[in-house]
Amino acid sequence: MMESIGYDDMVRMLRSAAEAVRAQHEMLSKLDSAGGDGDHGTTMLRAMSNMEKVIAAASTPELKTLLHDVGWAILGVDGGATGPLLGAFFLAMAEAVGDRDALDARGVASLFAAGLKGVQEQTKARPGDKTMMDALLPAVEAMHAAAERGGDIQALLQRAAAAAAEGAAATAAMQARFGRARNLKEKSIGNQDPGATSVSLIFKGFKKGIDAHA
């Protein structure tokens, strides 16, 4: 049982998320081609490699600095919707982490909840609107529930990844109300949302990054 994570764990999680996205970027672009402009995979690739650069360049092992730099680096990607949303996610986490250098399960859950709130400040999209929110919100909620039930961070990340994957899968049946795909109206139904899929890959990566080292 893993009761706490620190800077190095966070680095592993982030790096593993980057790998998970990189492995699937072509699929992400394909999903975006159906209703958007087909660039989501490319944008995510850029976001992830910006993130990796920042991690590699980090000089002080502080969670706050790490998360802030990651958020800012992702914002620096000219990526349409993705950059600001994902960037806001990490920036809000940086804000929330303060000067803590380790987090227990509740700490992790509330950190991610703060990230979610950061995203919600940027968009009015709600679950059911067929956006990344459909993966992010259930993932964060699953974390919260898992932290209530016990202190194992591996289990918490496992639940979050499962919830994100489920949420992403469910977007296939939804009609898009945000992003470029909303122009498709009913025709958007049937395709899984690329942004939700990315989020689920990121959570899958977080989990793997911790598992591999546990």
Binding site: S29, S33, G35, G36, D37, G38, D39, T42, T43, W72, I74, L75, G76, V77, D78, G79, G80, A81, T82, G83, P84, L85, G87, A88, Q122, T123, F178, G179, R180, N183, L184, K185, K187
Partner: protein, 333 residues
């Protein structure tokens, strides 16, 4: 099949095109280190500055409007993708001045989000910035649902009149009011007949069947428009103009500006033929075609089609529209 574009590594599209753009127009614009497009000769700092942001691949927009009488800074993003907030914030910092900064944002999800975030940060830093959002694409939904309406080539008249007001030494609030008045009084509709290729990915970004045209096509070939059989120039002009006049509720005796913006493969020849019909129709209705502008201003690569932008003019807007400007894409002397 390779796409038939003269490009190199797709990852280098934007820096390479900006390098050439700045070179071709070095008398008017310059590039900063992080690819902001600024004026070659800065505007006096006691006048309001205009800043905008937007994806690349729509040349000459938006950087083509940087120069005397229009923009001060443009923040070009990747191909069809808004620039991230950090560079936008830098542009706002660079433009910041006591007189203030008017920030023109086209209503596209990425642009709006990036702009909002940059604005939040700018306000925290105490920068003096106000934003105007353009959303005049009537295909997005009814007039009372502006969030659904995209920003198309109407950004140009907004930038033109607000830029002229800034040049004339008007205050930030005055410039904003002028920009918003122009914005409220315009309506745009796009028609497309053939698709384009995304220069970064090689994907076809709007496949349009034979003998068909799409009225209400978005700036990047986003679907959602009304597909209908291909019409003649005169019929198309009438369909589009009627919808725009309706939307703006233009009455006999009023004066309008009509812009026809070719998006790529459609020729000036065609646009002139359409303009001729627009005038005939306006004449019949007793509406004066006070000003017109025909050309390629906001393109979608080699897509075939055009945007028709109708704007109601009052005397002040007309005078600002006529004021001199000297930018790569528009010169009034």
């Amino acid at each position: 099949m390779r796409m038939k574009k003269f490009i190199n590594n797709p990852d280098d599209l934007v820096p390479e095109l900006l390098e050439g753009f700045a070179l071709a127009h070095q008398a008017k614009v310059a590039l900063t280190g992080n690819n902001l497009v600024v004026r070659a000769a800065p505007k006096p700092s006691d006048k309001v500055a205009l800043v905008t942001l937007g994806g690349s691949g729509h040349e000459p927009a938006l950087s083509g409007f940087v120069g005397a009488g229009m923009l001060d800074i443009s923040v070009p993003g990747e191909i069809f993708a808004a620039p991230g907030p950090p560079r936008v914030l830098e542009a706002l910092r660079l433009a910041n001045r006591e007189a203030g900064v008017l920030f023109v944002v086209l209503n596209h999800a990425g642009d709006v989000m990036s702009a909002r975030m940059a604005m939040d940060l700018a306000r925290k830093e105490g920068l003096n910035v106000k934003q105007v959002l353009t959303h005049e694409d009537i295909s997005g939904g009814p007039r009372d649902n502006p969030e659904e309406r995209r920003g198309l080539v109407g950004c140009l008249p907004v930038i033109k009149v607000a830029g002229a007001a800034a040049e004339a030494g008007r205050t930030l609030d005055e410039c904003l009011a002028i920009a918003e008045r122009m914005e409220r009084n315009m309506a745009t509709l796009a028609v497309a007949v053939s698709g384009a290729t995304h220069p970064g990915t090689g994907d076809v970004i709007a496949e349009i069947p034979e003998d068909v045209m799409v009225v209400g096509m978005g700036q990047h070939g986003e679907a959602g428009g009304g597909t209908q059989p291909l019409k003649s120039a005169d019929e198309t002009a009438e369909i589009m103009l009627t919808a725009l006049l309706d939307d703006l509720n233009v009455k006999a005796g009023e004066e309008v500006l009509v812009m026809l913006n070719g998006v790529g493969a459609t020729t000036l020849m065609e646009l002139y033929i359409v303009l001729r019909r627009v005038r005939q129709l306006l004449d019949e209705k007793g509406i004066a075609l006070a000003r017109s502008l025909v050309g390629e201003y906001l393109t979608v690569q080699e897509m075939g089609g055009f945007q028709m932008c109708l704007a109601r003019l009052d005397d002040e807007l007309k005078a600002l529209w006529d004021a001199p400007c000297n930018t790569p894409a528009l010169t009034v002397s």
